[in-house]
């Protein structure tokens, strides 16, 4: 693999992230192909390499569509992030807060207690988290987090 090819992978990765930031959603493989003037097959190959070799993103199983570019989720989740006129989905509450930190903006994370169903809202104002009384539970030890990325 040439240095130029790796640089293009890096540019695609960064563009995907900026697309999430700007629009709240992942670009489709066709959109990536159009932007970089690549064939769909080339895009799929590069997305798989970004997943398997760089661990830069996760594709929906059996497809070339992006599922996650952590902390962003391309599919709706129980962790909705809002700021200004924008909204994003986090893969978990950790990722939802990380979206606000990554973008560098104040906002709110909306979710619900999985047991009681009570709505829980976390607010970040001027870079500080308000109402920090809620409890985070990790069901899986850290060494197993990447065994099943959808369940931690």
């Amino acid at each position: 693999m040439t240095q130029g090819s790796l640089m293009l992978d890096s540019e695609i990765r960064l563009w995907i992230y900026q697309h999430f930031v700007d629009t709240g959603r992942a670009p489709s493989p066709v959109e990536i192909a159009a932007h970089f003037q690549l064939t769909p097959a080339e895009v799929e190959h590069r997305l798989r390499r970004l997943q398997e070799e760089a661990a830069a993103l996760v594709l929906l199983p059996g497809s070339s569509y992006i599922w996650m570019a952590e902390p962003f989720s391309a599919v709706p989740t129980p962790f909705l992030v809002r700021s200004g006129g924008g909204q994003w989905w986090g893969n978990c509450v950790w990722d939802a807060l990380a979206i606000l930190a990554l973008i560098g903006t104040d906002g709110v994370v909306s979710t619900a207690c999985p047991n009681s169903g009570q709505a829980l809202v976390l607010s970040v104002t001027k870079g500080s988290l308000a109402d920090a009384q809620r409890i985070v539970h990790f069901a899986v030890p850290a060494r197993e987090w990447w065994r099943d990325i959808g369940f931690t």
Binding site: W94, L97, A101, L120
Partner: protein, 73 residues
């Protein structure tokens, strides 16, 4: 991981699903972790952090018990 209203809710949720309770901490610590864990993702020179680098971040926010080890060793 999930966000709960209280420790009682975690216990009830785990019991209903026959899940052994894992580890808990307050969301203030999660905010500290969230601010640094992905802070390089919009950098053009991003590369995945090594296990040692990720472990150092967990250690820095006080997550240093065996539950928080990223490797078996």
């Amino acid at each position: 991981m999930l966000l709960f209203r209280s420790e009682d809710d975690i216990a009830a949720w785990c019991e209903q699903r026959h899940i052994t309770p894992g580890a808990t901490f307050d969301v203030a610590r999660l905010w500290r972790l969230a601010r640094v864990w992905y802070d390089d993702r919009l950098n053009s020179s991003w590369r995945r952090r090594t296990i040692q680098e990720r472990q150092a971040i967990l250690d820095a926010v006080g997550l240093s018990g065996s539950f928080w080890r990223l490797t078996d060793s």
